[in-house]
Subunit: 454 residues, 2 copies
Amino acid sequence: MDNRIDNVFRALFTLEDLREIHRKALPTGLDGAEEEQYREILGRLKRIVADIEQGRETKEITKIAGTIDIRTREENYINIQPIQAAGRLTLEARKAVIAYGDGYSTCDACRKPFRLDKISKPGIAEFHADLARFVNMDQARVVPGARRGFQAVTGTLVEKGDSVIVSALAHYTEFLAVENAGGIVKEVPLNGKNIVTAEAVAQKIEDVRQETGKLPVLIMIDHFDYQFANEHEISGIGKVAHQYDIPLLYNGAYTVGVMPVDGKKIGADFVVGSGHKSMASVAPSGVLAMTDEWAPSALRTTAMVGDLTKRKFGIKEVEMLGCTLMGGTLLSMMASFPAVKARTLTWGNEVKRSNYFIDRLLNISGSKVLSEYPRRHTLTKVDTTGSFDTIAKTHKRRGFYFSDELSSRGIAGEFAGATRTWKLNTYGLNDRQIRYLADVFTEIAEKYEIPVQK
Amino acid sequence: MDNRIDNVFRALFTLEDLREIHRKALPTGLDGAEEEQYREILGRLKRIVADIEQGRETKEITKIAGTIDIRTREENYINIQPIQAAGRLTLEARKAVIAYGDGYSTCDACRKPFRLDKISKPGIAEFHADLARFVNMDQARVVPGARRGFQAVTGTLVEKGDSVIVSALAHYTEFLAVENAGGIVKEVPLNGKNIVTAEAVAQKIEDVRQETGKLPVLIMIDHFDYQFANEHEISGIGKVAHQYDIPLLYNGAYTVGVMPVDGKKIGADFVVGSGHKSMASVAPSGVLAMTDEWAPSALRTTAMVGDLTKRKFGIKEVEMLGCTLMGGTLLSMMASFPAVKARTLTWGNEVKRSNYFIDRLLNISGSKVLSEYPRRHTLTKVDTTGSFDTIAKTHKRRGFYFSDELSSRGIAGEFAGATRTWKLNTYGLNDRQIRYLADVFTEIAEKYEIPVQK
């Protein structure tokens, strides 16, 4: 651990102490007592900066609100946690949450017609247009997480008892969004390689028609699923959806923000992405994009009229419940967006590094990869039953020995204690980090005399 | 404007630059090039700290991601914006978003049964219990804004065509939540003093029964409304709700987090609060609390079973769509919570200061207050048609002259250009700030020769 990291946090927090004085002061300036307090804090800050410079360890334990530990996982470790990798904030997003953390901080310049996606300062309106272009759809809205995007679509399209096609690897939030709207999920089986094929989707549609006498009202498919991060036949599924004239929701929780996504080319009616999963944003955040065809229904504005006052809130969108992300969540998305756009163009390198690591892991005798291979994604499910788990069987720390070994080498994010089947994500690691990560796995194997192929 | 404020932001951002180096480095430490870059940034930091110390103005324009202005409204101004006042972050919340901004940062120690409100490190489980106690209800969940709390309740209780009682001053999000569930709002008329009385609620219930042949399925009432922030007869309404056996949703968007709220004493079945409006939290955030009676329905867990895989996600709650707030939003709520709890106990002082300001405003000839008076809240609707608007009529800047005058004296948050009826919120201002604010209004009146009563 680098001694400087804790001190960087102390310095950040001390600057917040200074900022707090400005917040409590009069616009005319600080008074004598405040100036004195300011000098005292500034002195503390200078000592911390000197500590950083000297690499001096701090004895002070920094807690937030007296009880919450600071979180240094991203600074002190290489983090391979499966869902955290592509959600960690960019530098600019971290600056944005410092400046825009306050509750309704987006609303300084909210004017008629009083809707989030119309605000031009900061450039929220433009960001909405950019987002739609980014996934090549016509319209986009920010939502509190991908799941709230699913909910808006099922709330629009699904009536009680309707069938919705999902994958046999569908995320639980798809189940919940369908259930919430009163629908029933119908799962498409996987082929022998754990892939959802277009043919299987077509077959399932026929099965549902046969069974219920009605076509499904919606198809929700993950381009890459959360279990194996296998790539499913999304474009073929898009064609099938159109043949049956059933709307397709493209679940891009693991794609939008890390690789290029072209909704129209895929034939998607809706594209959903996750801000905190793949767009380097504060949770809960996400995007719901759609073609113009669906905007009148999925983005319908309120028709409710007060029976007594005759009030109408005409421009507010029912499924959005009005404004959705009003501060730090949205501004982190916006601040990360230039970097996020850029990084999708180098997705190939991310996949290359993912395969590099997996190949090195497979060199450790007994290790397997359960995801499709070669990898097309940075999230991978591996099976180390034949390698690292053989040690866990007799180790007094059981599977935790493996976590200990990783942790002591600065690796975090594996599922603590798991040495059989588990998931990891190498997204965002640079070349040095990925080599280091692979070396650590090799080193641990060698330490426990698990054969490693060179 | 204090020159130091921009430099405090520059210093914060420069520390994030340092932090970024740690994030890109190997766990074994920085290499030569990184150390050099580190030293360079540290040098820059020291120069900025010296600038702060000397009060030197910076010529550098700090932008986030190249396009987003830093926001210094809370540092450079006294902010009286009606919805921002009680949502501005506490010092501890600002530290929390620095440490927990990353997407899924709450999930480091997520273990079986894999649900947000069960995580004990950081203390999210305990926070949920605290939240329920805080509003004296049995169970609580965090939600992405009060509106998502309304939605969970209407989604549970309201079927197509059902009537829901709301106030003639109901917030638009209540309309949308009812509409989203297929219900119809039925507004309770106000009395001559713009108050929703218990008697009027009872009468409206009878009217609905007469008109539709059915009782309303839900009563949603704002303790203080968003228009006037008048206090409505919430306890009496609680009694009426129970007489008719209709569940009561207490909308505490303007109360939970600023004044003590006792849900059971009121007779509420549900208590909803807003994190970004009244609990000093990052948006979107909020709380939905309820009595044990309603947990089996409003917090029902999923019953959906995959038709093919037979998968079940048993513990996930349908209306919550699983986990709700996964990082900076939740941690800001948690970090602010001790201060938020404490501040509700001094609500009386906030109201006193609100009345002090309003009294001073009323001393300016022609000014009126449209909210109930004396004030019982810090949010107030005022009418300055007879005072400041008389100047706007002939001023070349029209109503904007007033914004200019306020802004040049360090006051922000009035509705730009509005000089007739408008809203302001004095929440969180200390004694000095409230006096200064009142002095500014007096000073502007005197400048334009509007008579002021001494």
